[in-house]
């Protein structure tokens, strides 16, 4: 399986190159590859049907428990077949839809990459491996939605989809980490074989909620559904493949996978049921509002996804059975319908339901495909959709919780499905119209073959559900239900209540179809509901965030150096005060008062001199005086050094002070006079900060003086300086020998300073380049 995936990655990155080489023939390898995958998975069928689970593992990052571990069981195989088989058809369809685009190579790149990633999602056994592929599907979806990158709408929609699913991805990551921490297992196999993750575990609730969040965003559940209709900005093959048949079902897949581990609790069931049914209702209601056929399909997809989530939430074997059947049926008919709409769009240039009339005679094969799919969608008798709907009604009616809520959702969406199916199969093709929409050019072979095949498959599965679909579905069922109940699928259950309900649905649904034009003309409450819904909220958040970020950044990074300094210094002072308060003993100055008596007069004079100089410095406005007084302070410091036994330091200080004054004189005396600027505003704030800082430094100094230790370095240097290092001036010996390395760094600083000054003064901006 790893090799299949690797081949997919390789092929996808080769696509642009192949496009250059092969031109339009690019489609051949791109279709053959999914077909080969499909064939490969078919060869695995017998083994899986016999109940075997194929496990493969390759080490990747073993220390983190992230390995390329794959697991092929019934559920995985079902999805893998769906992904690869559907993939082949979509690849073919793409040729008809985008065959002329110069970016075809890139499109195939993203599409194949997506297919591979999606296969990775459904085949992964390792939790984080799944996560990686999951994120990859989000990324490829982003690139595909924004494929028409010139259009602003495409860009914003792509961005929206990425951010919503990306947020979900992060929730998934958090959830998986928590799951891993709580159970200690890294793979689904281990999770399934291990003890059940008990609801009483403290991490159960956060982990479950995070994982649910991830599934909801991916599968476009309320209130995160809004990205899906917007994602219809993508080219139609993408909508058919990613946004109806495969990627959006990744959430359902994960829910089904995790069901045996997390399911069965009240939280699980209630949240899923409530969110699922809400989504179902919302999707169904909004689907009837739109005239853009892709939007209509998108909302029915949302509705169907909601149903699937509710089914997972009902959590009975029957519901899980219904889930699988409905999922398969939905993928078949919805993919078909998307492709049909795309083909219509391609050949007529519009996809507005109100503009499309009487297409049937011109586009016979498409009409046939649409009719097949529509009948399946409406749940008419010999189609697979019928089997799905029967099971759906039965499962919701036997829901252990919120029965009527769940059934109501299923029923309303059933109505909407029938209406939409009538619109798509009957309304735009066969409904009598005075003027039929002109067809610019007939769709090519690759545009109508894939939907037709899919439509036929829907019929085929419906006609003989027990022999074709049932075996695989049963294996999948056993994975998610973790029971060994047999799965019976039959087309005809007899004349039961359910059947009556089906009939009622169809007839009411057809009635609804005739009311559709009116509904569509009433952009009243529902539209407002939509406009004030989560999509609006998203945009508000988006704009608000940007605005807030700007305002905030302007405040924080205002450009005033002194505010920066004040913040930093205050932060330092706070930390220091806290630490001093917490750890340090109080200083006891009384013991050191006697030291005052030892102060000699000249020291005191020097001290007073420095103070006076500083005071003068604070008050003078003259530049030259300031420089002179600065020099005075510096020389006083040198005197202090000399008084306390540091002649080398004193000499250096003296010379450097002189140099500084010289530099000042050299540089600043030629400048025009500086204008005087007062501290102007909030002067006291700065005084406060300065005084606080100064006094803290004094405090620390006094404290540390009290606790100073005699260093063993002093003794060592005293002994070794002459005997081992041949020098009597210990300070100098330290500088050039004991710690000569410091000096090396120090002279480097000097050299760089000289270089920097040279460049600063000589290199003019005019001479320098802009970048």
């Amino acid at each position: 399986m790893l090799f299949a995936l690797l081949a997919g990655f390789m092929l996808s990155f080769l696509a642009p190159v192949l496009h250059r080489l092969l031109g339009k023939l690019l489609v051949v390898p791109m279709v053959l590859f999914p077909l080969a995958l499909f064939a490969y998975f078919c060869t695995q069928l017998p083994g899986v049907l016999a109940g075997n689970v194929l496990l493969q593992g390759y080490a990747w990052a073993p220390s983190l428990g992230i390995n390329l571990q794959f697991r092929l069981d019934g559920l995985g195989l079902l999805f893998a077949l769906l992904v690869s088989g559907f993939g082949a058809l979509v690849m073919l369809y793409t040729k008809g839809y985008l065959g002329e685009s110069p970016l075809l190579g890139r499109f195939y790149l993203y599409l194949t990459l997506f297919m591979t990633a999606m296969l990775g999602v459904v085949l992964s056994d390792n939790l984080f491996c799944l996560f990686i592929f999951w994120e990859l599907t989000s990324i490829t979806s982003f690139l595909l939605i924004g494929f028409d990158s010139d259009k602003e709408e495409a860009r914003t929609s792509a961005w929206q989809a990425l951010l919503v699913t990306g947020a979900g991805g992060l929730a998934l990551m958090g959830g998986l980490i928590l799951l891993n921490l709580a159970t200690g297992s890294y793979t689904f196999s281990a999770l399934l074989n291990g003890e059940k993750f008990m609801a009483t575990h403290p991490l159960y609730l956060p982990a479950t909620l995070l994982l649910l969040l991830a599934c909801f965003t991916k599968s476009a559940q309320f209130p995160f559904h809004f990205w899906l209709p917007n994602a219809m900005a993508a080219p139609t093959p993408v909508s058919a493949y990613l946004h109806s048949a495969t990627m959006v079902k990744a959430g359902i897949y994960l829910l089904a996978r995790l069901g045996p581990v997390l399911g069965g609790t009240e939280v699980w069931q209630m949240v899923l049921l409530m969110v699922g049914t809400a989504t179902t209702l919302l999707g169904a209601l909004l689907a009837l509002q739109y005239t853009d056929l892709k939007a209509v399909l998108a909302y029915t997809t949302i509705s169907a996804l909601g149903l699937m989530v509710s089914l997972t939430g009902i959590d009975t074997p029957l519901a899980l059975k219904a889930l699988l059947v409905f999922l398969l049926a939905h993928a078949l008919y919805k993919g078909t319908l998307f492709m049909v709409v795309g083909a219509i769009d391609h050949s007529t240039g519009t996809r507005d339901a109100q503009m499309l009339r009487g297409l049937g005679p011109h586009l016979k094969l498409l009409a046939a495909a649409a009719t097949l799919a529509g009948l399946s969608m409406a749940g008419i008798l010999p189609f697979f959709g019928f089997v799905g709907k029967e099971l759906l009604y039965e499962a919701t009616l036997h829901s252990p919780r919120l029965t009527w809520w769940a059934f109501g959702g299923a029923f309303v969406s059933g109505l909407a499905f029938v209406a939409v199916a009538s619109l798509l199969s009957y309304g735009i093709f066969w409904h009598k119209a005075s003027v039929s929409t002109p067809v610019k050019h007939a769709p090519s072979f690759s545009l109508y073959l894939p939907p037709l095949l899919l439509g036929l498959l829907g019929l085929l599965l419906g006609l003989s559900p027990s022999s074709l679909a049932a075996p695989l579905l049963e294996q999948a069922f056993q994975v998610i239900a973790s029971t060994t109940t047999e799965l019976h699928l039959a087309l005809w259950h007899g004349f039961t209540t359910i059947f009556v309900l089906s009939l009622v649905t169809v007839s009411l649904g057809v009635l609804l179809y005739f009311l559709l034009p009116r509904l569509q003309q009433l952009p009243i409450t529902y539209q407002r509901l939509y406009q004030n819904g989560p999509n609006k909220l998203y945009h508000l958040t988006f704009k608000g965030f940007l605005k807030g970020a700007k305002a905030f950044t302007r405040r924080v990074q205002g450009g005033y150096l002194r505010n920066y300094m004040v913040t930093i210094v205050l932060f330092f002072c706070c930390l220091l005060v806290f630490v001093l308060w917490r750890d340090a003993p109080a200083i006891d100055l009384s013991q050191r008062v006697h030291l005052l008596q030892e102060v000699r007069l000249y020291e005191l004079v020097l001290w007073v001199l420095v103070m006076a100089a500083l005071l003068y410095l604070l008050n003078t406005r003259s530049r030259l005086t300031s420089i002179v007084v600065m020099g005075l302070v510096g020389y006083s410091a040198a005197l202090f050094y000399i008084l306390f036994g540091a002649p080398d330091v004193a000499a250096t200080q003296l010379l450097i002070e002189t140099l500084t004054v010289v530099i000042f004189v050299l540089l600043l005396h030629k400048l025009p006079a500086f204008t005087y600027l007062s501290h102007q505003y909030r002067k006291y704030k700065f005084v406060f900060v300065s005084v606080l800082f100064g006094s803290l430094m004094t405090y620390v100094l006094l404290l540390v003086q009290e606790h100073a230790v005699t260093s063993e370095l002093q003794q060592f240097y005293g002994k070794a300086s002459y005997l081992q290092a041949h020098g009597r001036n210990i300070v100098n010996v330290i500088l050039v020998d004991f710690r000569g390395f410091d000096t090396l760094g120090e002279i480097t600083v000097l050299a760089v300073a000289a270089l920097g000054i040279f460049a600063l003064l000589r290199l003019n901006p005019e001479k320098g380049g802009k970048r």
């Binding site: 205002g558 450009g559 600027l677 102007q680 330290i734 500088l735 004991f738 120090e746 920097g756």
Partner: protein, 116 residues
């Protein structure tokens, strides 16, 4: 003197910082220099100051005779002074250059690079 010097250093720090918080470029430079001076003195005093003899081994001896000033802070201080000089020199030139190029000595006017 050990007890008086910390106060002087504290005041030096305070004045230095106060100048650094000034919006005048020239005051900023004065502040940097004063702050550097305060830092150096801090290092000197915190290493322990004595009036005992300087850290030079007399011609007659082979090892230093106790008591002698701890040479380590002095050596560190020397390094620090020189490094500080390099940086201060650069800063002075930078200020001059800023004044020359931007025609302003008001720090509050130098906030174009932070604009969002």
């Amino acid at each position: 003197m050990e007890i008086l010097l910390p106060f002087m250093i504290g005041i030096l720090f305070a004045v230095g910082l106060y100048f650094m918080l000034h919006r005048h470029l020239f005051k900023l430079i004065l502040g940097l220099i004063l702050f550097g001076l305060a830092t150096n003195l801090f290092l000197f005093v915190v290493g322990g100051i004595t009036r005992s003899s300087i850290a030079i081994i007399p011609e007659t001896e082979e090892v230093a005779t106790e008591p002698y000033a701890d040479p380590v802070p002095q050596a560190l201080l020397l390094t620090a002074i020189v490094i500080g000089f390099g940086i201060q020199a650069f800063a002075i030139v930078l200020v001059r250059r800023v004044y020359q190029t931007l025609k302003s000595n008001n720090l509050d006017e130098l906030n174009s690079t932070d604009k969002t």
